[in-house]
């Protein structure tokens, strides 16, 4: 590559040439660029191919697909609202339990626990994250549902005469929105905890000392300094957890009961979008298949929106922290 000798023989002349290695360098750059772009290509492929396959359902059923309140494929009823309802309800139940638990663990690790206890606690939470979803489902199905049934029915009996409560907490067979929500809570706690911890860790030590030096108790310091500082980031963490909960499939499929129904009874059976896809797709006829892939598209859109929102919230915190530093 350096064959063309500089005319004037100046040592600087060769600076104008590409020199040895420029070719491989460009090739390597191109290879990495292609690899990096794969993420975009795959995401685009996912969106396009699935939408194409789902189109028959979208066009055939139209609004009755998106706003129909009955999902009974055997009778040709493809209204997805019961499945959306199940997904949202189960995810919200999961958040109600997981968020306080995660924030508590994050505070425990960051503010309360002595240093030597921190690593074991973090390890326990990490192991919780590593347990496969299907194992959660199997365990909950055999070892928890009977107990859940007893407890739920006990609660249902206790509130039997009370309006609103008797609707929310009705009779149960064990499999239910609540069972699925509780297991999901356990499954999304690690992700919320770890992001929350990162956010809490960005609170300047100086600010915390400031509160303590004014005679604040540890809890008052947390409320007065740590929480206000972390609101956006914790919101992001919660949304990440929500995204996880909405997409979680097998564990929910095993314990929610597989009956698509818009029911206010938290102790009653239901069904979610991912669980329905999971159960039916393999053996579905053309129309049901299209409807199920449509569910996948909707699930994709919802989780992408939630995740984008979550990233925004976390990034906003980053900016603010760096801005004031």
């Amino acid at each position: 590559m350096t064959v063309t000798a500089p005319a004037d023989g100046s040592p600087a002349a060769s600076l104008l040439e590409e020199g040895a290695g420029a070719g491989p360098d460009r090739a390597f750059r191109t290879v990495t660029l292609v690899a990096g772009t794969m993420v975009l290509v795959i995401l685009l492929l996912i969106a396009v191919t699935m939408t194409v396959r789902a189109w028959p359902a979208f066009s055939e059923f139209g609004t009755s697909y998106f706003f129909g309140t009955e999902w009974v494929p055997s009778e040709g009823k493809y209204g997805i609202l019961p499945l959306v309802w199940g997904t949202v309800l189960v995810s919200l139940i999961a958040l109600v339990f997981a968020v306080p638990m995660s924030v508590g663990i994050a505070l425990f690790v960051n503010e309360l626990a002595p240093r030597r206890l921190r690593r074991p606690v973090v390890t326990v939470v990490d192991i919780l994250a590593a347990v496969p979803s299907v194992v959660f489902g199997l365990w909950a199905f055999y070892n928890l549902l009977p107990g859940f049934q007893t407890v739920f029915n006990g609660i249902a009996d206790a509130v039997a005469g009370i309006p609103v409560l008797n609707t929310l907490f009705g009779p149960s067979t064990g499999s239910s929105f609540m069972s699925a929500g509780l297991i999901l809570a356990l499954m999304i706690t690690p992700i919320i905890t770890s992001v929350t911890r990162e956010v809490f860790a960005t609170v300047p030590e100086n600010d915390k000392s400031g509160a303590l030096a004014l005679g604040a108790t540890r809890w008052e310091m947390v409320r007065g300094v740590v929480f206000p500082h972390s609101m956006g980031g914790v919101t992001g963490a919660v949304m990440l957890g929500l995204g996880r909960a909405m997409g979680e499939t097998v564990a929910v499929a095993l314990i929610i009961g597989a009956r698509p129904e818009i029911s206010l009874n938290l102790f009653g059976v239901g069904e979610t979008m991912p669980a329905q896809i999971f159960r039916q797709l393999s053996e579905a006829g053309a129309l049901l298949r299209s409807a199920l892939i449509g569910l996948g598209v909707i699930l994709l859109v919802l989780t992408v929106l939630v995740n984008v929102g979550a990233r925004r919230a976390v990034v906003a915190v980053d900016r603010r922290v760096k801005g004031t530093a």
């Binding site: 290879v31 690899a35 794969m38 326990v124 979803s133 909405m246 997409g247 699930l299 989780t303």
Partner: protein
């Protein structure tokens, strides 16, 4: 050496001192404040126990219910015994959870040879395939992001989309592979390869992000030292940067592998079902996670035993991968 002008002069009146003592021992700190602080601390510990207790209980129960099958000798080598209802496909009563056909397995449970070899092989095969597809691609993508793209528009877009892709539910990846791979090919499309594709989609963003994090940790002066010798970026990357980040990249990739090994949703409807070992990437296959699900759906004593055994095996594999990954990252932390 110390000139303490204070000693001995002007003693503090006793009354004053005892007042202060009362105040400092919390006499004036409101009972409410103290209680709220204690309650908050107790709740924090409780939050941890609430998460840890189910984990421990689950660990114990999975172990105790699966250990017999796993230690039965034939477990790692024998084919999966027929439970009378091998193929989920024909199971009309699939949704009636817990109501399986028990006639097939129950009566002969003691005589059958418990085995899970096909699923263990299938798990290793699918995960291997997914790793071969996703890890090199992910590392190269991360190299682009951190060594070439940096803060550019394209790099920022890819980074953002990688985060988005991390959040895409695994079942959607399964649906995707099902539509582009299995549907055009019919039943023949169901294979370990198809499952590998779905798992690779799942692993790719995880590998990209964890690798980029590790590349960030490689100090810039290493790159500068290499560049100052007239080395090209690609050579610097391959010879200096990647080796420096190797431990971290390995650890991140192993975590992605562990995640993929445990996945069920994207696997079940693209892999089919077999009860004998299939060492090839083509043709129907099975995995531990798929077995746990389908055996649970079958119900019956034999199926349940198989499901627990598979669960223990899977948890063991995933935990080993996770702990090895953590060990590597702890031992070789950069900086």
């Amino acid at each position: 050496m110390t000139t303490d002008t204070a000693t001995g002069t002007d003693p503090v009146p006793a009354t004053r001192s005892s007042e202060v003592a009362v105040a400092l021992t919390g006499g004036t700190l409101g009972a409410g404040r103290r209680m709220r602080n204690t309650a908050a601390s107790v709740l924090m510990v409780l939050a941890f126990l609430l998460a840890a207790t189910p984990l421990v209980v689950m660990g114990v129960q999975v172990f105790s219910q699966g250990i017999d099958a796993v230690t039965s000798g034939s477990w790692w080598t024998a084919p999966i015994p027929e439970t009378g209802r091998a193929d989920l496909a024909d199971n009309e009563a699939l949704q009636d959870l817990g109501f399986g056909d028990t006639s097939g397995g129950d009566s002969s449970a003691s005589e059958v040879v418990l085995g899970m070899a096909p699923a263990i092989v299938g798990t290793l095969l699918t995960v291997l395939g997914a790793s071969v597809l996703a890890i090199p691609l992910g590392i190269l993508g991360a190299v682009y992001l951190h060594e070439y793209g940096k803060k550019g528009r394209l790099a920022r877009l890819i980074r953002f989309m990688t985060d988005v892709m991390t959040g895409v539910p695994s079942v959607v990846m399964g649906v995707f592979v099902y539509t582009v791979w299995v549907l055009p090919r019919g039943v023949d499309g169901k294979s370990a390869l198809a499952a590998s594709l779905a798992l690779a989609c799942l692993m790719l963003p995880i590998v990209v992000r964890s690798t980029e994090e590790m590349l960030k940790l490689v100090p810039d002066n290493l790159r500068e030292a290499s560049a100052a010798l007239g080395t090209r970026t690609w050579k610097t990357t391959v010879k200096v940067v990647l080796p420096a980040a190797l431990a971290g990249i390995t650890s991140g990739s192993l975590l992605a592998v562990a995640r993929a090994a445990g996945e069920t949703a994207p696997v079940v409807f693209v892999i089919g079902f077999v009860t004998t070992t299939n060492l090839g990437f083509l043709g129907q296959n099975t995995t531990l996670s798929a077995q746990i699900y389908s055996q649970q759906q079958n119900g019956g004593a034999l199926s349940t035993e198989l499901a627990w055994g598979a669960a223990l095996t899977l948890v063991g594999i995933v935990l080993v991968l996770t702990l090895v990954a953590r060990g590597i990252s702890r031992r070789f932390q950069i900086g």
